[in-house]
């Protein structure tokens, strides 16, 4: 499984679509978007930080393991860091697979593990940079 992991301080731009083979039957894309209401209070956005080197390694380890459970052709994960305003994506995942079943299962498991185990944090502080 082809694994690509990126961290970026800039707004996430969907990478260009490209099918590496004629055997891709399912392309799944997920945007995790910052919502206004988090634990009941209205936010303007969230600040994300990561132990980037460890986060990349940990996510790679999880994806290598998940690839044996849900074999897909490729996964591309982009996590934005720094300030992310409400309505913009903090996380983007694209999965290419022969069939939709593995793709959907891999997507669900990847987000679960990322949220449980990968050293990335969202914080309501610090405040957004002054305009």
């Amino acid at each position: 499984m082809d694994i690509t992991i990126e961290f970026t301080p800039a707004p996430i731009v969907m990478p260009p679509a490209h099918l590496p083979s004629r055997e891709i039957g399912a392309a799944l894309e997920f945007h995790g978007i910052v919502r206004e209401l988090e634990n009941g209070s209205a936010l303007a956005g969230l600040h994300y930080e990561a132990h980037e080197k460890m986060a990349r390694r940990r996510l790679e380890q999880h994806l290598a393991e998940l690839a044996t459970l849900y074999p897909c052709v490729a996964i591309h994960c982009i996590h934005r860091l720094g300030w992310v305003p409400v309505g913009e994506a903090s996380l983007y995942i694209r999965i290419l697979s022969a069939h939709r079943g593995e793709g959907i299962a891999l997507l669900a498991a990847t987000v679960d593990r990322l949220k449980q185990d990968v050293p990335i944090w969202k914080m309501t502080q610090p405040s957004p940079p002054a305009p």
């Binding site: 132990h51 460890m54 390694r57 940990r58 996380l91 949220k115 050293p119 944090w121």
Partner: protein
């Protein structure tokens, strides 16, 4: 030997630093090192990593160069 301690997110607030370089011995553990650096700061709810791999609080530092204090993660 020297060890770089990194503290992220809430751990940075609890420990009062983002990064600190300390001297330690190979047989020291993360628990011992942090008790020396910040006595009284609770390790409850925190995880620890040596050179980017999660370990227990009682794993010897060995040849590791970096100790990261990992509060509950919340990415995504």
């Amino acid at each position: 030997m020297t060890l770089t301690i990194l503290a992220f997110a809430q751990a940075r607030d609890a420990f009062g630093f983002a990064e600190r370089v300390v001297a330690c011995a190979a047989e020291d553990t993360p628990r011992i090192v942090l008790q020396r650096v910040a006595p009284g700061v609770s390790l409850e709810h925190l995880r620890v990593a040596l050179d980017c791999e999660y370990v227990t609080w009682d794993t010897p530092i060995g040849a590791a160069a970096e100790l990261a204090i990992i509060p509950p993660v919340s990415g995504g």
